[in-house]
């Protein structure tokens, strides 16, 4: 028995994919081989389920602990972690919930999960220096339209037809759990400001123009293109005010000229 085969068989047992291949490899020693292997399956599923609960506490509160454990179990078997850091586990959970038949009557749930995932990303994102407005000031106006921005890795955009911010607020530890599901769409930027008064994560409400603009920049569009789509979506879009707010939040870490990845701004 090669190590590779053994680990593949045990892995399949632990993830509930194959209960038969691993048992002959294990000494029963007074229990059953399945009982012994089952201890590892339990540890794995329970520890990962706890990790998901820590990342998605509001989703858990919305569906109950018992149902959350059931959904997490199904998710873990289908999407086991692909890296060793548990705080980075669960990025596919919102999409999984969106397609999970038993929660079809909770259409806002996946978007709440998207907000919680963005919060998790913001909290743990790598530290990076922020771009200051002065670094763009030297640019001639005709060039500034061709600039693209790299967003700070803590930045996450969440848009939903449901008032997920209110749902999230109402389901914090001190909340009463009550939110108006007809409260309307919301568009959010989740980020980390790294300021003494805001050390963890921040949730910023965006209007349609701001959200369209940042979405376009996050997708690699130039400043000119992003401004164009934002204005087309929202006549009230105010580029100067939006950029100023971005710089004060440290949203950008780098500016590049379109088409030349090495061409940083002066």
């Amino acid at each position: 028995m090669q190590l590779r085969e053994l680990q593949s068989a045990v892995g399949a047992f632990v993830l509930g994919r194959d209960g038969a291949s691993a048992t002959p490899l294990v000494l029963a020693d007074g229990l059953t081989a399945g009982g012994r292997l089952g201890a590892y399956r339990n540890n794995t599923i329970i520890s990962l389920s706890e990790a998901l609960k820590a990342t998605f506490p509001v989703v858990c509160r919305l569906v109950s602990e018992r149902f959350f454990a059931y959904a997490a179990d199904a998710f873990i078997r289908r999407h086991p972690p692909t890296g060793p850091c548990v705080s980075e586990y669960g990025g596919e959970f919102p999409d999984f919930l969106a397609a999970f038949e038993p929660v079809r009557q909770l259409p806002y749930l996946a978007d709440v999960a998207r907000l919680e995932w963005a919060i998790n990303v913001a909290y743990h994102a790598t530290d990076m220096g922020r771009l200051v407005p002065a670094s763009l000031a030297a640019l001639p106006p005709e060039q500034s339209a061709r600039v693209t921005f790299v967003l700070h890795p803590s930045s996450g955009l969440v848009a939903s037809p449901y008032p997920v911010r209110h749902i999230w607020d109402a389901n914090q530890a001190d909340g009463d759990g009550r939110a108006d599901l007809d409260g309307g769409a919301c568009r959010l930027l989740v980020c980390r400001l790294d300021r003494a008064d805001a050390p963890g994560f921040s949730i910023v409400e965006l209007n349609l123009g701001e959200h369209t603009f940042l979405r376009a920049l996050a997708d690699g569009k130039t400043l000119g293109e992003a401004c164009q789509v934002a204005t087309a979506e929202d006549k009230r879009f105010d580029l100067t005010a939006t950029l100023s707010a971005c710089f004060s939040r440290g949203t950008f870490v780098e500016a590049r000229f379109a088409g030349s990845p090495e061409g940083r701004t002066p």
């Binding site: 892995g11 520890s47 850091c85 530290d127």
Partner: protein, 293 residues
């Protein structure tokens, strides 16, 4: 870029008081009160991002030696080590300048999936070669020796040809790595597999034991038989304290850590456990071997 330190870290002597595992629920309190413990140990994988967790750890590093205890190198997995993970560990170690870097005699990753548990190895020559090669790779990358912890286990593989203690001793001999002797794990495994701890303790090269771990475990009944599960969720039991005293006599005063990972108690309770370690070490005879120098 690592932040610039305002002052060099203190290089502490071998810590006399016991250490505690730093866990998220105690972060703020430890930051605010800086309790008198000998060192702090963290799971390295929880500090590989940015933000306040890592900043807190850097701040604490000025007041405590920090031990980076890995749970995700998966040193026993067939196939190559996770290069990105090794890179991130290396960056964290440069930033924190840890007292120790450690991981377990176990594996977690298979076919690209991480099982988030410490699975036992078959104790074979093949697994020994894989494990020792991986330890060497980590040591070369970090340019320091690492510590390997004996695992708690719930099963043994039928085709093992070596005992766990001979396997661990041979890893030490081949790689020059050190050992974390987890006394609770030793007790749990000895009970689960009905072996005697004395040959185990005798097989571990005394000079390689740089740290001792203590924790609580839980007793379950599986298939009508007792199975001890290492959940780090309760106080250290009397039998494990007795085994710790035995280890203390064998290996001399050794940096000792209290780990508590589930049902995490108030910080004062954790520190009270650590105080028991200090009392046992103080009561024990001083180390007589020349290794103490």
């Amino acid at each position: 870029m690592p932040t610039t330190r305002t002052a060099p870290y203190q290089t502490a002597p071998i810590p006399a008081p016991a250490g505690i595992g730093l866990r998220f629920p105690h972060h703020d309190e430890i930051m605010a009160s800086r309790p008198p413990v000998g060192f702090l140990e963290v799971h390295a994988e929880n500090y590989m991002g940015g933000g306040r967790l890592v900043r807190d750890l850097e701040a604490l590093r000025h007041d405590y030696p920090i031990s980076l205890h890995c749970i995700g190198l998966s040193l026993g997995s067939d196939g190559p080590l996770d290069e990105r993970h090794l890179e991130r560990l290396s960056a964290l170690a440069e930033r924190i300048e840890p007292l120790f870097v450690s991981d377990h005699l176990s594996w977690s990753a298979v076919g690209g999936a991480y099982l988030n548990d410490l699975l036992p190895l078959p104790y074979t020559e093949e697994a020994l070669a894989v494990f020792a090669r991986h330890v060497e790779q980590v040591q070369e990358r970090l340019r320091r020796s690492i510590l390997i912890e004996n695992p708690s286990s719930y099963l043994r593989f039928a085709h093992s040809t070596l005992s766990e203690w001979d396997f661990l001793a041979e890893v030490v001999r081949r790689t020059g790595c050190g050992v974390i002797l987890d006394v609770n794990n030793l007790y749990v495994s000895a009970k689960n597999h009905d072996f005697d701890v004395d040959p185990y303790l005798a097989a571990i090269p005394a000079a390689a034991v740089h740290e001792i771990h203590l924790a609580g475990h839980t007793l379950k009944h599986v298939d009508g038989r007792e199975l001890r599960i290492d959940d780090h969720g309760s106080p250290v039991i009397a039998e494990v304290w007795a085994l710790y005293e035995q280890a203390n006599r064998l290996f001399g005063p050794t940096p000792t850590l209290i780990e508590w990972d589930s049902n995490i108690p108030p910080l004062t309770e954790l520190i009270a456990e650590a105080t028991k370690v200090d009392q046992i070490q103080a009561a024990a005879a001083p180390r007589t071997s020349d290794a103490a120098a």
